[in-house]
């Protein structure tokens, strides 16, 4: 592509911090189909970056490449000054990259609390022998994990549901639960896949409130979202993909008046 490596529309000297995630010429194809085509972009530390684009633009593929569920066909993913292109998804969480799923994936036949308590890394009791033999040490660790899990559940307003089976809570609550699980790992960058999709407006407001609160505390977010209203109100900067390429990068205000973007969206209406 002729704009390989070029970053579109970014205002120079943005107030955000240094890039925490850098994509360098990332491509991903499925057979002959190129879903993501040499995408290069930076996600600035401390931002809530919105990733938009019409259906089939390659958003989810790009998201999965960043999250580690798909390996890039070409290019590099650099997170926090570390090349994580070859990292399996489980190593990315340890590196400080948390993600949620478009269709929530709670551990259904486990309590909400257990779902959250699972997440911390390096739990001594996760070894088979330690689990049976080192019970005193694990008990102390469990108490600490439990305390923190309840605090995080309290933060995402799910504390009253701690003892419920996670499969029995609403879809919106599942999204909050996924956020809670991810927060247990204290990631630097949180990837949210359509956080507002299929969630009732009241819970969406709760979720947005939590995202902005976390953002003020220094967490960076990369959010894929179909709901343009959501993106325009809460995300800055906004990155747009179409046919696997970055077609726009800039502020929400710029996005709303960008002719290329309008054309893409008018040409292929978004189903929110």
């Amino acid at each position: 592509m002729w704009f390989l490596g070029r970053v579109w529309g970014r205002a120079p000297g943005q107030s955000m911090g240094e890039p925490i995630l850098k994509l360098k010429g990332v491509s991903r194809s499925f057979g002959d189909f190129v879903a993501v085509d040499r995408v290069s972009l930076n996600i600035r530390s401390g931002s809530i970056t919105g990733l938009i684009g019409p259906n089939g633009a390659g958003k989810s593929t790009l998201f999965n490449v960043i999250a580690g569920d798909l390996a890039p066909s070409a290019g590099r993913v650099v997170f926090d000054e570390q090349d994580i292109s070859g990292f399996a998804s489980e190593r990315r969480f340890a590196a400080g990259l948390g993600r949620t799923f478009q269709i929530p994936r709670p551990f259904k036949r486990m309590s909400v609390l257990e779902n959250v308590m699972l997440a911390p890394l390096d739990q001594d009791g996760e070894g088979l022998l330690a689990a049976v033999l080192g019970r005193a040490r694990i008990r102390a660790q469990e108490a600490a994990i439990r305390k923190r899990a309840l605090e995080v559940l309290d933060f995402v307003t799910l504390h009253p549901l701690a003892d419920q089976p996670a499969g029995k809570i609403s879809g919106g609550q599942m999204k909050l639960l996924e956020l809670a699980r991810v927060l247990m790992g204290d990631p630097k960058l949180i990837l949210l896949d359509e956080p507002a999709a299929g969630v009732n407006p009241a819970l969406t407001e709760v979720l947005i409130g939590k995202i902005e609160e976390l953002n003020r505390d220094g967490k960076t977010f990369l959010i894929i979202e179909h709901d343009m209203d959501f993106v325009m109100r809460h995300c800055d900067p906004v990155i747009a993909l179409a046919e696997g390429c970055v077609i726009f990068e800039g502020t929400a205000a710029e996005a709303q008046s960008n002719p290329v973007l309008l054309d893409v969206y008018l040409g292929a209406p978004v189903d929110a």
Binding site: A67, D69, A88, S89, E90, R91, F93, A94, G98, R99, F101, R105, P106, F107, K108, R109, M110, S111, L113, E114, N115, M117, L118, A119, L121, Q123, D124, G125, E126, G127, L128, A130, A131, V132, R135, I138, R139, E142, A143, R146, L150, H159, P160, A162, D163, Q164, P165, R181, V182, G185
Partner: protein
């Protein structure tokens, strides 16, 4: 009366041995979601291993190492664990029904090897010449069987306590998470492959213990003891009892073994003469119906899995407000 008690002891011994195997399967399926269709391979490995290591020298097959009994039993368990490790490394990337097919195939292969590797396993004749531990002290009558039952129940209790501890530990939580959603577990930094293998091998070692005790009890094992029907029986026990619930698994073992024994007796007693030849097959049909019926009408089993809170008894600071 003495006859009845004696039979009850015999029945309980076999049921308790099978209950150990069901607990092993519960770790694999109930907790981790591993569809092991080859239970008899672990069971047989434990039985053959124990008898070969602990037996007296025989012409015609391997064995006669006359090891101290606990060592022989541990050897049988290690054999089952080693086999499971190899099988696990090869097949655990498979999911669900594919894993079941692969492990079922391994079990059938195991039976065929036992049947045909005559020089090692005694072939269709099986392993003979095993002397049960403490037999010269206790004789081989009722008192021996009673002591053996107590020993088996002690093993059952030990395995139960071990697994209950495991279930409430972070390791148990990890198993359940992998059972529920491997992708989500991966996204939270967990490595499902390592954990699945650990659960598969541990469950197989426990099933191998059951096999070792079974071989010890009969002082004999042959390919007839490792037929696929045993896999289905053990599955029926877990499904009826309640996958994910260790107490349910044990209850299911006694229930199904009781039903199996009773149906065999009832068929031989009441079935018309021309059907007598087929009582075994009728039992197979019955056990299949029990499995299907349970899955249709009460898939959670008689004793459903309880939601585990990792430290039971600690108040979460709120009552359910719904």
């Amino acid at each position: 009366m003495i006859g009845f008690i004696s039979y009850l002891v015999f029945f309980s011994t076999v049921a308790a041995i099978l209950a150990i195997a069901v607990l092993g399967l519960n770790l694999q399926w109930g907790n981790t979601g591993l569809f092991n269709g080859g239970i008899v391979a672990s069971f047989g490995a434990g039985a053959y291993g124990t008898l070969i290591l602990g037996g007296t020298p025989q012409d015609g097959h391997l064995g006669g190492f006359e090891l101290f009994y606990p060592l022989a039993l541990a050897g049988g368990m290690a054999f089952a664990g080693g086999l499971a490790w190899v099988v696990g490394r090869l097949t655990l990337r498979l999911r669900h029904d594919y894993l079941a097919i692969a492990t079922f195939g391994v079990a059938v292969a195991f039976e065929n090897v036992m049947r045909n590797a005559t020089g090692v396993t005694g072939g269709a004749q099986g392993i003979r010449g095993f002397e049960r531990p403490l037999q010269n002290l206790l004789g081989s009558g009722f008192s021996y069987n009673l002591v053996f039952l107590v020993a088996v129940l002690a093993f059952l209790a030990l395995v139960y306590v071990f697994l209950e501890r495991l279930t409430v530990s972070p390791f148990g939580r990890l198993l359940r998470a992998i059972r529920e959603d491997e992708t989500a577990a991966r996204s939270l930094g967990k490595s499902p492959d390592r954990v699945r293998l650990a659960a598969f091998v541990t469950g197989s070692v426990i099933i191998g213990l059951a096999g070792g005790l079974y071989g010890t009890f009969y002082a004999f094992v042959s390919p007839q003891d490792v037929l696929p029907i045993l896999t289905f029986q053990i599955w029926a026990m877990l499904i009826v009892g309640g996958a994910g619930n260790n107490r349910g698994a044990m209850a299911g073992a006694f229930l199904i073994w009781g039903a199996w024994t009773f149906s065999g007796w009832a068929l031989s007693r009441f079935a018309p003469v021309e059907a007598q030849l087929y009582t075994g097959s009728i039992q197979f049909v019955l056990i299949g119906m029990v499995i299907v019926g349970m899955l249709l009408w009460r898939p959670q089993g008689l004793f459903p899995e309880r939601l585990v809170v990792s430290q039971p008894g600690v108040d979460t600071g709120n009552k359910q407000r719904d």
